[in-house]
């Protein structure tokens, strides 16, 4: 169980910085198309933002709600990843061969670009969720138990 932090400075700074961290995470995720960045790094930064909000506001606070909700989504990222791969297979190509991502009205180049973005989003979601769930399971194991056992 993580309680909220006492210091007003940490609380106020957290209120300002966490959205910035999240934005930066999204930026790194999408910038992976053109330069250094991508799903894993972006996911780590997004996860860090959520971990920060848990550490600063405590994990029952309304600001940490995203982190609590996100815990149920473990595997959703993998489903996105495998779903894109599966769409490529339905299109007749190999697993993750984005040239065969059958979306009407798209040129081959944009198909590849879109395919990579989607798989990277999948990776980012999974990495972020895993980072949050590690912190939660280190701090309070009954949360994990409850969330999985219903």
């Amino acid at each position: 169980m993580i309680r909220s932090h006492d210091s007003i400075i940490v609380q106020t700074l957290g209120r300002f910085l966490i959205p910035v961290v999240q934005m930066f995470g999204l930026y790194v995720l999408f910038f992976g198309q053109y330069g250094p960045g991508g799903g894993f790094v972006g996911g780590v930064i997004l996860g860090t933002g959520m971990i920060l909000s848990v550490l600063i506001f405590g994990h029952n606070a309304s600001r940490s709600r995203i982190a609590q909700r996100v815990l149920h989504g473990d595997g959703v990222g993998m489903l996105i990843y495998a779903g894109v791969g599966g769409l490529c297979m339905i299109g007749g190509g190999e697993f993750l061969n984005y040239a065969n991502l059958e979306i009407p009205g798209l040129e081959p180049a944009s198909r590849r670009s879109l395919g990579i973005v989607l798989t990277q989003i999948g990776v980012a979601v999974d990495v972020a969720v895993t980072a949050v769930s590690i912190v939660f399971s280190l701090s309070a194991e009954e949360i994990i138990e409850d969330s999985i056992n219903g």
């Binding site: 473990d74 489903l79 495998a82 791969g85 190999e94 697993f95 061969n97 969330s147 056992n149």
Partner: protein
């Protein structure tokens, strides 16, 4: 469409595993039918895949369309497809076996169990198909991590065994990775076929010897080869009753298969580095494992512990067959691998039923069962015939081909080791049956109720499979000879 079958085989259990925690969030009891259906579908697809590969040759699947040395490649050949069919059938039986047992064995962690089992099986599929040394490592780790978690899933005493398994398994994985990096430094590639084509001119390299050695020790820890076997009996003994029949036949055998792939497909079978014939050393280790494993099994009082040591001995026998470096020995080894997987599954079903229905763990308590549990005693007798290697069973033909192969290679120590291991196996089964049929004046206080259908099915199918593998050994060996031989043998 048919060229997609290998990746469909991998995706089926993986997708089921990752959607399991979400789907079963509200309805925990859905997990059992979901994983049963998934694995049944996997059995069907792997039959299709085997049929396709026997008739149309091997499939080289390149992920995302990048050709082999650059991209990641999967090789679905005859050997992989045969092992995969076995793997999916044993996975399905294991999940069926879990149905009546889980409230007691798993302590309520039913969703964890099914998620991990499906993840484990998809990782083993990846190991079987991997055509790339690093990809092999990744799947090795996924399989290993899910099996550590599976051993400890119910908590209690098993957690210590799981932790020990984790430490040793991680050392094994690290050594394997070190070996791969040595090979990568020498050859500049990770693709198995590509390495194989570059190796002949690099045989004087010291890094190559180091890499091979590290890879062998790493995989040796994972396959419980004798000096490195210490994690295995405890992990299998203290794992929950529904976990050990899935872990025991699969993980060590599939890792052994990965080693066979490296030694025969990446390196050449007749390879001699610095006057050291690699296969000879492998065969010597097999001799040690066969004799030491059987002797240790003879010393056990706990049934599951005894069967686990029996499995260690059988890894040795398979390695003796594979280490002979001729067709007869190789096919005998692979055939024995198939048999041994079925026998290990069957033995751990029996041990699970004995504990779950009758509360029997050790030989001293076996007299409680006596003649009153015909399903259990009957299938135990058939399993014993198979483990010892008496004629109508598949165990006999496997050992027969291995001995023929050893005689062909003039390796009389190997022949002696197989025979000695057989005698020791006979000895520990005599000890077991002496425990069952002992005459005592004491009256058993166990209630003999109805045996659940799932137990009858799993024990019956594995016992029948041992006999069927024996009766149809000729066509199966022919299938192996036609489809599963490595190049250059």
């Amino acid at each position: 469409m048919s060229h997609q079958l290998p990746v469909i085989l991998f995706l089926l259990p993986l997708l089921a595993a990752i959607s399991m925690p979400v789907v079963c969030l509200k309805h925990r009891h859905w997990s059992q039918p979901i994983s049963t259906a998934t694995l049944a579908a996997m059995v069907l697809v792997s039959i299709l895949n085997l049929y396709n590969i026997v008739h149309h040759g091997e499939i080289r699947y390149v992920f995302s369309g990048w050709a082999a040395p650059l991209g990641i490649e999967w090789v679905a050949d005859g050997l992989a497809s045969i092992v995969l069919l076995l793997l999916s059938i044993l996975g399905l039986l294991g999940v069926v076996f879990n149905k009546p047992i889980y409230p007691k064995a798993l302590g309520g962690r039913i969703v964890h169990f099914h998620t991990l089992i499906l993840l484990f099986i998809s990782a083993l599929t990846g190991i079987t198909f991997a055509g790339d040394l690093f990809n092999l490592f990744v799947f090795l780790e996924v399989a290993a991590i899910s099996s550590y978690a599976l051993v400890g899933v119910a908590g209690g005493r098993a957690l210590f065994a799981a932790f020990r398994y984790l430490i040793l398994g991680t050392i094994g994985a690290a050594l394997y990775l070190l070996g791969v990096s040595y090979l990568y430094a020498v050859t500049g590639t990770l693709n198995m076929a590509d390495i194989a084509s570059k190796l002949p001119m690099l045989l004087s390299s010291k890094a190559l010897v180091g890499g091979l050695l590290f890879m062998f020790i790493g995989l040796g820890i994972k396959m419980a080869l004798v000096p490195f076997h210490t994690w295995m009996p405890e992990a299998y003994t203290y794992a929950p009753e529904s976990v050990s029949p899935i872990l025991a036949p699969l993980i060590t055998k599939v890792v052994l298969l990965a080693w066979v792939r490296i030694i025969y497909w990446v390196f050449d079978a007749s390879i001699v580095i610095y006057d050291i014939p690699i296969l000879k050393i492998v065969a010597v280790l097999g001799v040690l494992a066969a004799v030491i494993g059987s002797s240790l099994a003879l010393a056990q009082r706990d049934i599951k512990m005894m069967f686990a040591y029996g499995g260690i001995a059988h890894i040795g026998i398979i390695i003796i067959g594979i280490g002979q470096g001729n067709q007869t020995g190789f096919v005998g080894g692979i055939f024995y691998l198939l048999n041994d997987a079925v026998m290990q599954a069957g033995l751990f079903y029996i041990a699970g039923v004995a504990f779950y229905l009758y509360g029997v763990r050790t030989i001293d308590d076996l007299w409680h069962i006596g003649k009153q549990a015909p399903w259990l005693t009957g299938s135990l007798i058939i399993m014993a015939l198979g483990m010892i290697g008496l004629p109508p069973t598949g165990g006999f033909f496997g050992k027969w081909y291995i001995i023929l192969g050893a005689l062909e290679a003039g390796n009389y120590i190997s022949v002696a080791a197989v025979v000695l291991s057989t005698l020791l196996t006979l000895a520990y089964f005599v000890k077991l049956f002496e425990g069952i049929f002992r005459q005592t004046s004491a009256r058993s206080n166990i209630q003999f109720g109805e045996v659940p259908l799932a137990f009858k099915l799993t024990m019956g199918i594995t016992s029948a499979a041992i006999i069927i593998l024996g009766l149809f050994s000729a066509p199966i060996v022919q299938l192996l000879l036609d489809n599963a031989l490595p190049p250059g043998l």
